[in-house]
Symmetry: C2
Subunit: 387 residues, 2 copies
């Protein structure tokens, strides 16, 4: 099985881009990725594009060929939707496409969310849940994840202050990241005193509504060698998992088997385990989601990750810095762009050219965890940098 | 490169299923496919599911894990959207996934269209065109394809009666196909005298609004051998192409380069050419689309396919029977299900267990052509049956 190398990555700044279209944002992200890669657009053999709510936000489906055109690429192009894991899936199938024989694949995603009303965005996001058995009963995502958080507290202990430390950590990580939507710190008190969204979550337990795009140019090992590319980061493992679509059909509300399956598969392909990982970018759409991610990936036993940020284990100087990019919470969460943005940020962290690379100078192995819905789908990638 | 075998196929009848959901339709199609395949659901390693307008019709996105659950499968699952070529793309990435090392992949698609108003469905379908530069100007798909038809007439000649023969042929093919939405014949006069939809198209130049689902179980050559499967049909070539998203950006309105690229790629992989093909299922969303498809695939020079049905070359006893299933026109066109339905019908035609197999007893090579939008995307597959 050929190794897959990341030749280049690019993102727009995440935030409010109400004056711009999704296609325009993707054009910017891909321009940055091609410049970073030093690979010609003509070399691209396939495009995988993640987008979740284009039908609602821009009345636009069929975005594969549109994305290719915006990237200046002439190649087969398909839009993938796996809710908030859409561009994680795009990365995965880019990897598979190279393993099946391609040399150069463009992957990425874009989302425009701020041009809808807040209610409109909430309704559009709810299309990632079960329209028949969840949404009609009134469940939206803040509600679904707060059910998971409350059940976690009941089952294992922990409290709102534990969760607040996750938000504080991720905001602190984003302060110098120009691509992040929020570049300001928060205190535990500010998080605890924020307006309640859905108990136990206050405003600062929730990732924001964001516009943005991300892209990566993936190449085969032989193409990288033949073109003498400076592409030190390899994707050594890809995993994806599914679970029951609706939360009520799960055996447990505090386990995420889709993420466990994705993690197991990615670790198995890479031939490593949790202990070998130096840094992680995980899907903290709500603070509790970071807890569930760290347990699903095997970094903590069930019930043990709740205090990780509070204990300083996942902060910049902890044993496993998590979401050094700022995470979804502070970097922003334009849903279809998030999975590939994790790849973009992690690649730069491992290469040493991220603003936060200096806090992890010896990091050689990283992992991304990108979840769809209430983790009905999840995509995990293991990245390793040449020593 | 491993050959990919079609272990089993299944479809719901296409038509009006207003009392059923898309998920329910997909459950039926997959149940039929697994029965046909004789393969256990537990063996499935990945699911690719095509759906185009679920956000509009059922307020449901993120349908990959939902589709897997409906199929009774526990595996990574992703929804692909390439407009009316969505499940063609699902088949393609199933093929690629097996080439990348998997043994069993489930592919398919579903669409529910009749639960929207006709205006609502027309608007939802328009999301396959350019929301900024086509749809806002009032262009919908009957309008777009009629522009292509009128330009074709202007450039090459031909008339409405030529197109009418395509509709008459495809309806005649569907008369005994229990899966088809319409099992009645039409006369040329009936087609010509039908209500005008968008000149030159009357009602019978247009494929209908349909509900339905399709599925196929794809397996590796080695899995088929190890399990002694009765799976004589192989997918020997897959090709996909893109073009400018908006019609006005094309060099020509009477050429479909995305289909030419897809066809060239699929033929190259299979190591054959148009002269080797015995039967074809092509994307006749409007009558003129069948003409453009036959020219793009190299069966006819530009300007020559317009009279093919009228001359009897593409009818049951012609040199290249086209759309023996009834095509989109008579079999129906639940958009996200169409591409895999072509695979399902063609597989049965080649195996000899389709109601129309008796008209092509010696057919060994077939091709499918599945287009998205105004052929901004296109997927082509070459299928061959063991001698």
């Amino acid at each position: 099985m050929t190794d897959v190398r990341i030749a280049g990555v690019g993102m727009t700044p995440f935030g409010r881009h109400t004056e711009r279209t999704g296609r325009d944002l993707f054009a910017e992200a891909t321009a940055r990725a091609f410049t970073d890669a030093g690979v010609s657009r003509e070399a691209v053999e396939e495009v995988f594009f993640g987008n979740f709510m284009g039908e609602f936000a821009e009345t636009q489906g069929h975005q594969g060929p549109l994305a290719a055109e915006m990237a200046g690429v002439q190649a087969p192009a398909t839009r993938l939707d796996s809710a908030c894991a859409s561009s994680g899936a795009a990365v995965r199938y880019g990897v598979e496409r190279i393993r099946a024989g391609a040399d150069v694949v463009l992957v990425g995603g874009a989302e425009r969310m701020n041009n809808l009303s807040t209610a409109g965005t909430t309704e559009a996001l709810a299309a990632a849940a079960d329209a028949l058995w969840e949404v009609r009963a009134g469940l939206t995502f803040p509600g679904a994840y707060s059910l998971m958080a409350n059940r976690y507290f009941e089952r294992f202990g922990g409290d709102r202050e534990d969760l607040a430390h996750i938000s504080v950590k991720n905001h602190a990580n984003a302060v110098e990241n120009d691509l992040a939507q929020y570049q300001h710190t928060l205190t535990v008190e500010e998080v605890l005193n924020a307006t309640t969204i859905s108990s136990p979550f206050g405003l600062y337990d929730c990732s924001p509504i964001s516009d943005g795009a991300s892209a990566a140019v993936l190449v085969s090992e032989s193409f990288a060698a033949a073109h003498n590319l400076d592409a030190p980061v390899r994707i050594t493992g890809t995993g994806q998992g599914s679970d029951t679509f609706a939360l009520q059909d799960r055996e447990s509300m505090v386990r995420t088997p889709a993420a466990e399956r994705a993690g197991d598969a990615a670790f198995a392909e890479a031939g490593i385990g949790p202990d070998d990982v130096d840094i992680a970018e995980v899907h903290d759409c709500f603070t509790v989601a970071e807890v569930l991610a760290l347990e699903a990936l095997g970094f903590y036993d069930p019930g043990e990750a709740i205090g990780a940020a509070r204990r300083g284990e996942t902060t910049v100087d902890g044993r496993l810095p998590v979401n050094l990019s700022g995470g979804l919470k502070a970097k922003g969460h334009p849903v279809g762009a998030t999975g590939c943005a994790q790849i973009s940020e992690l690649t730069k962290l491992l290469r040493g050219d991220h603003v936060n690379s200096d806090v992890v100078p010896d990091a050689e192995v990283g992992i991304t965890h990108n979840a769809g819905g209430t983790v009905a789908s999840c995509v995990v990638h293991v990245l390793e940098v040449d020593g």
